[in-house]
């Protein structure tokens, strides 16, 4: 019961932050959604999948492997956790997760397991401690697509980072 209210709460917070939400129950569905998105964008974008997800998603998707990032791409990463009170996604840098994807993607897809929802930012440090995760180079707490209000106080989406943020909520 509490779980489904957490999930709904997260979805509404993410929506307020300007994220799009997809609900999936399998990696097969994730692949389908990505393929559909690429088609909808007329294959104008390359695809970059974080190393962590490559073994799972790559066999079915043709993604860019080189160390140089392509010019315009859709990036796919996996969130370490989702923060309920602010509708934020936590991404940790590691040998399998590239920080640049979070900021260079035109469209950023973040896969979040619905079992990884935590109360607030303090719960993040508790979770990391309990799972013995050392502080990585970068902890990025992301709350929506990139934005600016530097011209006449008008909010514009897509300043330097992603213009669209899609959260794929994975229900196990």
């Amino acid at each position: 019961m509490e779980y489904s209210s957490d999930k709904n709460n997260m979805i509404s917070k993410l929506t307020v932050n300007g994220c799009q939400i997809q609900l999936v129950t399998s990696y097969g569905e994730v692949v389908e959604k990505i393929t559909a998105l690429m088609e909808a964008k007329h294959d104008l974008y390359d695809l970059v999948i974080s190393e962590q997800l490559q073994p799972i998603l790559n066999p079915s998707l043709d993604s860019n492997h080189s160390n140089d990032m392509p010019k315009r791409f859709i990036g796919v990463s996996e969130a370490y956790a989702g923060i309920l009170d602010t509708g934020s996604l936590v991404l940790l840098s590691s040998e399998k997760q590239r920080t640049a994807i979070n900021f260079l993607s035109e469209i950023h897809i973040i896969i979040l397991s619905s079992q990884r929802l935590i109360r607030d930012k303090n719960a993040l440090w508790e979770l990391m401690k309990s799972e013995k995760v050392e502080m990585p180079r970068a902890v990025n707490i992301i709350s929506g697509p990139s934005r600016t209000a530097d011209i006449e106080q008008t909010i514009q989406i897509g300043a330097h980072g992603p213009c669209e943020l899609i959260v794929t909520l994975f229900e196990q």
């Binding site: 190393e51 979070n102 303090n122 707490i141 990139s146 530097d150 330097h160």
Partner: protein
């Protein structure tokens, strides 16, 4: 260091008041900021509790400042980074030049850093032949315009859309095109800056906080430019100042709870990042060099003084947005890096009262700044103390001293005081008739007028009333 022009506050303000573009931009901004903040705080159950918690974190960190900075240094070192404490702006600039040169870099990407504004870092780097690119959109705009920021979180708030359009036409060599809306301007800046991001060798950012227990720096942005500057180049240099240190990750969170709400009215900024040390051995990206330069520049002498609370400031800009003076004269009038109420306190403290004499007086003492400050800094009271100090040190204009002396003398002689103010109304009316043809107002020059007060003073009315009650016999 940028030249301090705070003593020009009066003429600069007059110029600002007559600048129609500026007035248009300021009116728009004030309304936006105030409404967004109010909305966001109304959504929190108990904002005062959040404020208290944030303040606790800062009080603790200032009490143990040296110890925490040492802890930070150790932890940062263990994560492969390096901390440098520097006393003066010149030292900071020199160190950045040395590090940048050592990295054999040509292009330097800048994320927003008020400390680097304080030291005038860009100019120094440019003079040494480096190509410096500001990446925060607002900072980029004012870099093109060759102006200092006019607001601590919205550096180009004084610019209208039309002014920004002409800057882009002038500096972006992109042929004939028209900007149909603000989105088109943002898109062009994105495109132009993206190529710069991919080719830079050094990234310089500020830090909103330093966390002692992990050796992390916290960077808060909405655009993502700071994160790109911290991630893509091989060398990441952070320019920050001593009071940004907090003890724990929980303390950092406590400050973050009030920062974005007070600044932009968001529960949390779009990107809140904790950077700790170099890229790890097998990481796919991140810088191989990470240096955190911590500037003092007169801050440590405020510790334990009556002005210590000013070091609680988290640079959210709420006091600027709610200040009737700032909203009319804009940031540049204040003549240095930090404007508005926080700037009126900080500038004299860091740069000396003599170089910023008008600032403690650039206030109506309406108290809104203190009311909206998420750290509860008693800004009006600090301004009052600075005024007092000015008076003690005899550095305010002679005209003021004489007027204050006269008024003080009158106050100390109650009989003269009451006698004088009994005729005050008649004096004003008479002068008004002679100088301005009105018995209700006395022209003071510059469009200002002094209204004639009530014909009878409070004391006269009070005495009359007491006599009457006695007569009636109650």
């Amino acid at each position: 260091m940028p030249v301090i022009k705070s003593n020009q506050f009066k003429p600069s303000s007059l110029q600002a008041l007559n600048d129609s573009n500026l007035q248009l931009a300021l009116k728009r901004a004030e309304k936006g900021f105030v409404e967004k903040r109010a909305k966001s705080i109304a959504m929190v159950e108990d904002f005062d509790a959040l404020k208290d918690r944030a303040k606790q974190a800062k009080v603790h960190s200032l009490k143990h400042l040296d110890q925490l900075l040492e802890e930070f240094q150790d932890k940062l070192q263990a994560a492969g980074g390096e901390m440098h404490r520097v006393a003066s702006p010149a030292e900071l600039n020199e160190l950045v030049v040395t590090l940048t040169r050592r990295a054999k870099a040509k292009t330097v990407l800048k994320g927003k850093s008020m400390v680097s504004e304080e030291t005038g870092l860009n100019r120094v780097l440019e003079d040494q032949g480096f190509d410096v690119v500001e990446t925060d959109l607002g900072e980029y705009i004012i870099q093109l315009a060759n102006e200092p920021p006019s607001h601590i979180i919205a550096p180009a708030v004084h610019k209208t859309r039309q002014q920004i359009e002409s800057l882009f036409y002038q500096y972006h060599n992109l042929g004939h095109r028209e900007f149909k809306d603000i989105a088109a301007l943002v898109a062009e800046a994105r495109q132009v800056l993206r190529t710069r991001f991919l080719n830079a060798e050094v990234g310089i950012t500020g830090a909103n906080l330093m966390v002692a227990e992990t050796g992390s720096i916290v960077l808060v942005t909405n655009e993502g430019n700071g994160d790109l500057a911290a991630t893509l180049p091989g060398l990441h240099i952070v320019t920050t100042s001593i009071e940004k240190i907090v003890g724990t990750l929980e303390d950092a969170n406590a400050v973050l709870e009030v920062l974005a709400r007070s600044a932009t009215g968001q529960a949390l900024s779009t990107y809140t990042s904790f950077f700790t040390g170099n890229k790890r051995a097998n990481d796919t990206d991140g810088p191989v060099g990470f240096h955190v330069i911590v500037l003092d520049n007169g801050r440590s002498k405020l510790l334990g003084s009556e002005f210590e609370e000013m070091l609680h400031c988290i640079k959210c800009g709420a006091c600027l947005n709610h200040c009737p003076i700032y909203s009319n004269v804009g940031g540049h009038s204040y003549g240095w890096v930090y404007p508005g109420p926080m700037g009126s306190v900080l500038t004299p403290l860091l740069q000396g009262l003599k170089t910023a004499t008008p600032l403690p007086n650039a206030s109506t003492f309406c108290g809104r700044c203190e009311e909206v400050c998420p750290m509860g800094i008693p800004l009006p009271n600090l301004l009052r103390k600075l005024r007092d100090q000015q008076h003690q040190e005899k550095i305010e204009p002679r005209k003021w001293r004489w007027a204050l002396f006269g008024y003080g003398w009158l106050c100390k002689n109650p009989r003269l005081y009451h006698g004088f103010f009994r005729y005050w109304n008649s004096i004003i009316r008479l002068l008004g008739l002679i100088m301005g043809n009105s018995k209700h107002q006395l022209p003071l020059g510059g469009g200002r007028r002094l209204s004639a007060p009530s014909q009878t003073t409070f004391m006269t009315q009070w005495k009359r009333r007491q006599r009457r009650t006695k007569q009636i016999g109650i």
